[in-house]
Amino acid sequence: MASDDNPILEVRGLKVGIEGASILKGIDLIIPKGEIHAIMGRNGSGKTTTANVIMGHPAYEIEEGEMFLDGESLDDMEPWERSREGVFLSFQYPQSIPGLQVGNFLRKSVSSVRGEEAARGSEFREKLTSAMEELDIPKSFLSRYVNDGFSGGEKKRFEILQLMLLQPRLAVLDETDSGLDIDGIRTVSKGINSVVRGTENGALIITHYSRILEHVNPDRVHIMIGGKIVASGGPSLANLLEDNGYDWLEEQVEKGVDFE
């Protein structure tokens, strides 16, 4: 049940496989309201799987464990139901939908997620205009087709534009920093902060690098290796990792070092 004490996201003992191969081998994660957490890890460590599973990607099989959004179980919810409950995923590789205009798509999505009222009239237009200005997205963008022919940076900005308009309770950002230059990272970070800071919402940032974390300033950093969270700590953990590398970190974990 929803209550002030519930974390916005709670993941308990999550084991996940795809086509017989086990990927996540027991994940526990708690994100309290108003906090931004980061998961760092190498390619293939299970970061993207974690993001996809929270959103409800149908290709994955949940072998064990549970997920809760503000105390409510996500397990039986379809992706669109999770979205309407307030889960958002910024994709690492957003899909293009030729023929579907950005403006039209945004209005429909806002209507589906936040209700018809929110997608109507001047309020929607004002929100859209100000979010686009904040993200340095030109007006002409609205008549283009969703992600069709977008550059890497445009795709990422468009994900954040959707984040800002859909106002999710939990935003999961899968490598939103990759493909962005430093100005892009700054802009996108502003967007993420504006959705979470000082609210009851939360965010999970998935990344290879600590660069974006300098701008977002996460409350907690988790390191994922081989489908498990092997270390958790404050923001300085990201810097330690950046300075010393994953091999070093793995050694420390084996030695039993606690990064708290």
Partner: protein, 470 residues
């Protein structure tokens, strides 16, 4: 994927599938003979030359074998003896909806025709079974000399023009179904746009089959005189019966020098209608003919709108979409013949198949040896929504002149699970997501339609994706 089966389930009830009681004033017995052909002509009090063409066409129809391409199996299932070739439902064509018999008027009300007429059309004809039951044109256009009549009235009132052009673009001997149409044609539109007149708002014809085992054979002839322009829109529906109906139209367009004809079709016949139509236009010097052709309904459609680029600088545009659902085969495409130099053509075909439906693109593009510097561009895209459905492409290109510039692109794709997941993560159900992808795929066609049609088509396709219409 859960929800998959629901979203991709067969399409439910067809929205325009109701039927009204049949109140025929004249109804011919089933079957075709020379007598039936002569009777139709006599009933219409036609000039002798027309009767003669009909009879010749009938004889050709009897001798001509079925096409050996398209869907030969389904073509062979047509029983020409179980078709009603003429059915009159109203003794006259009204020029006010008040003059149209109540039951027929209700049908067109339900289809939204009178409403559309008031809002955005220059003129309307409504054909019910074999004949036009309603017809009107805006006064200002009539004053400018624009003729917009049903074909039967066209023959009565403008015999000279009809005699000159009837069958000049599509002779009865063109194919088996053009022969059939020429033999038993009834209704359709006759349009003449005088030199330099631009008809700004579209004129619309609506074709409705109501009776069982009905054959509808409208005949349309549009002549756009020098420097004129017109946009003609047609829509069609029929009730859903367990037995089949036959729709076999012939449409001839003449765009004289500098004229522009756009012919838009949104065909949504019920899934028991054979739709075997011949459409062809001749474009003279610097004229432009556009076919905007949407095939959503029918059991089997075989239709390849054609343009003969006869004069220098003429341009052809054929944009078509086809949707083949359960039990449907859309065999559609385009033909262009570049007869003159500096002629250009663009063909864009978009085809979707779902629930075991079958779509084929069949195209013929010819550039004659004497035609210099022609440009031809063909793009065919197909989208398959499930494993049971099928898409084929049969393109033919004959390039007889080395200065021609030809391009041909074809693609077949499937809806990706990742695309669906992306849209679902934005709050859209799987059916809504599929609808967005499908409408996006058709967008290059939809944006060419009058807004009212575009909205309707988007709604229709979204409903098809939900698997429930009503």
């Amino acid at each position: 994927m859960s929800g998959d089966s629901e979203a991709r389930e067969a399409v439910g009830d067809y929205k325009a599938g109701w039927h009204d009681p049949e109140n025929a004033t004249i109804r011919f017995d089933f079957g075709l003979s020379e007598k039936v052909v002569r009777d139709i002509s006599e009933l219409k009090q036609e000039p002798e030359w027309m009767t003669e063409i009909r009879v010749k066409a009938y004889r050709h129809f009897v001798e001509r074998p079925m096409p050996t391409w398209g869907n030969t199996e389904e073509l062979m299932e047509i029983d020409f003896d179980k078709v009603c070739y003429f059915l009159r439902s109203s003794d006259q064509a009204g020029s006010s909806w008040d003059d149209v018999p109540d039951d027929i008027r209700n049908t067109f009300d339900r289809l939204g025709i009178p409403e559309a007429e008031q809002k955005w059309l220059s003129g309307v004809t409504a054909q019910y079974e074999s004949e036009t039951v309603y017809h009107s044109i805006r006064e200002d256009l009539e004053k400018q000399g624009v003729i917009f009549l049903d074909m039967d009235s066209g023959l009565k009132e403008h015999e000279d023009i009809v005699k000159k052009y009837f069958g000049s673009v599509i002779p009865y001997s063109d194919n088996k179904f053009s022969a059939l149409n020429t033999a038993v044609w009834s209704g359709g539109s006759f349009i003449y746009v005088p030199k330099g007149v631009h008809v700004e708002m579209p004129v619309q014809a609506y074709f409705r089959i109501n009776a069982k085992n009905m054959g509808q054979f409208e005949r349309t002839l549009i002549i756009a005189d020098e420097g004129s322009s017109i946009h003609y829109v047609e829509g069609c529906t029929a009730p859903t019966y367990s037995t089949d109906s036959l729709h076999s139209a012939v449409v001839e367009l003449l765009a004289l020098p500098g004229a522009h004809i756009r012919y838009t079709t949104v065909q949504n016949w019920s899934n028991n209608v054979y739709n075997l139509v011949t459409k062809r236009g001749v474009a003279h010097e610097n004229a432009k003919i556009e076919w905007v052709d949407g095939n959503i309904g029918s059991k089997l459609t075989m239709k390849y709108p054609a343009v003969i680029l006869k004069g220098e600088g003429a341009h052809a545009e054929v944009i078509s979409v086809a949707y083949a659902g359960n039990g449907q085969h859309q065999d559609a495409g385009a033909k262009v013949h570049h007869m003159a130099s500096n002629t250009t053509s663009n063909i864009l075909s978009k085809s979707i198949s779902k629930d075991g439906g079958r779509g084929s693109y069949r195209g013929m593009a010819k550039i004659m040896p004497k035609a210099e510097n022609c440009r031809l561009n063909i793009v065919c895209d197909a989208l398959i929504l499930d494993e049971e459905s099928r898409q084929d492409t049969y393109p033919t290109m004959e390039v007889g002149n080395p200065t021609a510039h030809c391009e041909h692109e074809a693609s077949v794709s499937k809806v990706g699970d990742e695309q669906l997941f992306y849209l679902m993560s934005r709050g859209h159900t799987e059916a809504e997501a599929l609808g967005m992808i499908v409408n996006g795929f058709f967008e290059p066609f939809t944006r060419e339609l009058p807004m009212e049609y575009a909205v309707e088509l988007n709604k229709l396709m979204s409903l098809e994706m939900e698997g429930s219409i009503g």
